[in-house]
């Protein structure tokens, strides 16, 4: 396998001695390929026979305080514009990789784009922005979750530091649940040359139950999450 550019292998220290201390109390060698005896199945699949995947997604997003706006490729930029109404360009940070020319034009006109060459300045911008716009890689119907894989042009801070997180979700990227997402990620993580170093499953705005187990919305991450669901087929 070809390794990622410039990547150095990390050190591993004290492994042999550490493991030797209890090797005799666990199984030796490589375990046989294991199959779960019981394969649990989520009831989401029953639900999906009756309801469309996007409806299930939107319904579950609502329960986690994420508002969803539905649109199509045609009208996407208008929707984004309406969300960003009255917010200045330097208050909006985006990190989107897209072939959609109209969207590309809009983001370059209305947002500060994540620019790897500018290094840490990107993070500072993110911390000062009101809105961060991302484009999701996968979405999960069962929990109203979006999945972002962070790579060169897709910074981690964009979905984290601004007060409002806007996520563009192509309908075709919604899968039933975690299971399907893990399969996709598994395919990507094993590509030695370009795996995502960070994959985030994000489900609504940040929250906490640390005070009396009462769920409060908005702790360290965004205070508000807006999903823009795009009919792309």
């Amino acid at each position: 396998m070809k390794a990622r550019k410039n990547m150095k292998k990390g050190n591993v220290q004290n492994r042999e001695h550490f493991l030797s201390r209890f090797a005799d109390r666990v199984q030796e060698g490589v375990p046989a390929k294991r199959e779960n005896k019981v394969k649990p199945i989520s009831s989401i699949y029953n639900l999906l026979e009756k309801e469309s995947i996007e409806d299930v997604f939107i319904g579950n997003a609502r329960t986690i305080h994420a508002e969803t706006i539905r649109t199509n490729t045609e009208n996407l930029t208008e929707v984004l514009e309406s969300i960003c109404e009255n917010v200045a360009k330097d208050q909006i940070l985006s990190s989107i990789q897209t072939d959609n020319e109209k969207l590309e034009n809009w983001t370059s006109k209305r947002t500060v784009q994540w620019t790897p060459q500018d290094g840490n300045q990107n993070v500072i911008t993110a911390a000062q922005s009101r809105i961060g716009i991302t484009y999701c890689d996968i979405a999960l119907a069962e929990s109203g979750t979006v999945v972002l894989m962070n790579e060169q042009n897709k910074g981690r801070s964009v979905s984290l530091l601004p007060e409002v997180h806007v996520v563009i979700i192509p309908k075709s990227r919604i899968v039933p649940r975690l299971k399907e997402a893990m399969e996709i990620i598994n395919g990507r993580v094993n590509r030695a040359d370009s795996f995502p170093t960070c994959v985030n499953f994000i489900t609504g705005p940040s929250n906490s139950a640390d005070i009396e187990f009462v769920l409060v919305v908005g702790v360290h991450g965004p205070l508000e999450t807006i999903y823009v669901l795009v009919e792309d087929e």
């Binding site: 220290q13 199984q27 290094g119 399969e183 598994n186 489900t203 940040s206 187990f213 409060v216 919305v217």
Partner: protein, 479 residues
């Protein structure tokens, strides 16, 4: 902090804690509201039992093959550019981490929630070398601000505090001037902590699961603080107990599905972050250096013993949330950073019986914990095993109790002895009763009962005496 957080006797702590009405209301309220949430979320998932079975199989398989999976994990992390250090003791772990921090000339550390860093007393160690260590999980932050009040719940460490107390604390220490509304309190903490994040040089995290096949570190939070800790500082140190891994991403699906439902009744938490090595060179944010510290600190002693199942624990806290004893005595009574049923099983294993021999008795063996555990750890059986261990090791059980039980075994060994024994009992009870219907003020051990309850009387005669008469009457009728 280390595993042990309080001195003194268990019973004294319990007496103190049970006087704390704030805590008791907070705990029972949380148990009640969370219970329903958990049930709704597990019902929605379908056949919860089959998920639990799968989860327990994955955990058991992983622990049974720990050498294999730990080797694989460390290979994978290193192949992705991360450093791995295997720490046999708490001291080894502290020394390695201090070394990493010193090499970076760093002093500003932010932490996301990690039980194992509490266990190894990491904060104090880093403070000793001149670091400022900031806890960023809201609950942990509250405790840190309150002069390091110990945690009382493995998932919600500040559960023992009412919101009014937190407001007063924030007013006193953080210049807060708003209400006790949890949302407002959280917003204030956000403001205070933002600054710390943006200036941090080192980020320290725990690890919910490490995936052996891919070298992935999975961190589950709701607040987003772990994302902060793994996005902004240039160096990340992840500390994990040696048992906290799963073989594959496929298994991770099942474990995360179980964890968030059991812990907080959500189908998934707000943030599930998968980290594969440090950031790539061309990326902007994320750590340049990643160190994963795999900690033993007493865990490997549990392997191969009757208690091995406790290593399957995924620290969801569900057993605390249903425990009727925890409900009344709260987390601090346990005197350990691990509370409730899991704490009562784990603490004596990691830290010995000397300071913790009462914990296994802080249970009615009602089985609520076993019933709720998402990975089917037979918690109440393990508590019972501890009791057996304590008795068999000798010298730890009270002598009066031992004699009583010896007499029990002897008396019970034959029907005849039991027969005369219970007759005596019934005579002496009758003497105690004199003319009363029940006993209100019993002697010795009975006092523990009669302090709060009446003890019953013997109505007429023993049942077996009635039965003899009944049997002979029957025979008579038949004839």
């Amino acid at each position: 902090m280390s595993i042990k957080i309080k001195e003194g006797k268990f019973k004294d702590r319990v007496t103190d804690e049970m006087k704390n009405d704030f805590m008791r209301k907070a705990v029972s309220g949380a148990q009640d509201s969370l219970g329903n949430r958990r049930l709704t979320s597990t019902d929605k998932l379908g056949d919860w039992e089959s998920w639990r079975t799968a989860g327990s199989e994955i955990r058991k398989h992983t622990i049974d093959n720990l050498v294999h999976y730990l080797s694989m994990l460390s290979e994978q992390i290193s192949a992705k550019g991360g450093h791995v250090y295997f720490a046999e003791t708490d001291e080894d772990a502290r020394n390695y981490i201090k070394e990493v921090v010193r090499n970076k000339n760093a002093t500003k550390v932010v932490k996301s929630k990690s039980m194992v860093t509490e266990e190894i007393g990491l904060n104090t160690a880093l403070e000793e070398i001149g670091c400022e260590v900031v806890e960023t999980d809201l609950g942990e932050y509250i405790l840190q601000v309150d002069d390091h009040d110990p945690p009382s719940h493995i998932v919600a460490p500040a559960l023992h505090k009412k919101k009014e107390q937190i407001r007063d604390l924030f007013v006193e220490k953080l210049g807060y001037d708003k209400t006790e509304d949890p949302g407002e309190l959280a917003k204030h903490a956000r403001k205070m902590l933002r600054e710390k994040f943006l200036g941090a040089e080192i980020g320290i995290t725990g690890c919910n699961f490490a995936v052996a096949e891919t070298g992935t570190i999975c961190i589950v939070t709701n607040e987003g603080n772990a994302r902060m800790v793994t996005t902004i500082p240039k160096t990340q140190i992840t500390v994990m107990g040696m048992e906290r891994l799963v073989p594959s991403l496929e298994d991770l699906d099942i474990m995360v599905s179980l964890l968030t439902r059991a812990a907080v009744g959500q189908p998934i938490s707000s943030y599930v972050t998968l980290l594969n090595g440090p950031k790539a060179e061309e990326e902007v944010d994320g750590p340049e250096d990643l160190h994963v510290v795999i900690v033993d600190n007493g865990r490997s002693k549990i392997l191969g013993t009757e208690f091995q199942d406790i290593l399957n624990c995924i620290r969801c806290g569900a057993c605390l949330n249903v425990c009727p004893v925890y409900r009344h005595i709260g987390g601090h009574s346990y005197g350990s950073i691990y509370q409730g049923p899991v704490g009562a099983v784990l603490t004596p294993l990691l830290d010995g019986y000397d300071d913790h021999k009462d914990l296994p008795y802080a249970s009615t063996l009602c089985g609520a914990c076993t019933d709720v555990c998402p990975v089917k750890i037979p918690l109440h059986d393990l508590l019972l095993k501890h009791r057996q261990e304590i008795v068999e090791q000798g010298g730890r059980a009270p002598i009066s109790e031992k004699l009583l039980m010896k007499a029990f075994g002897f008396g019970a060994s034959s029907g005849g002895l039991y027969e005369s024994g219970t007759k005596i009992a019934s005579v002496s009870l009758k003497m105690l009763l004199r003319n009363k219907e029940t006993i209100s003020n019993g002697p010795g051990m009975m006092k523990e009962w009669t302090n709060s309850k009446e003890f019953p009387t013997l109505k007429t005669s023993r049942f077996r005496d009635w039965m003899s008469k009944h049997e002979s009457e029957k025979k008579h009728e038949e004839r």
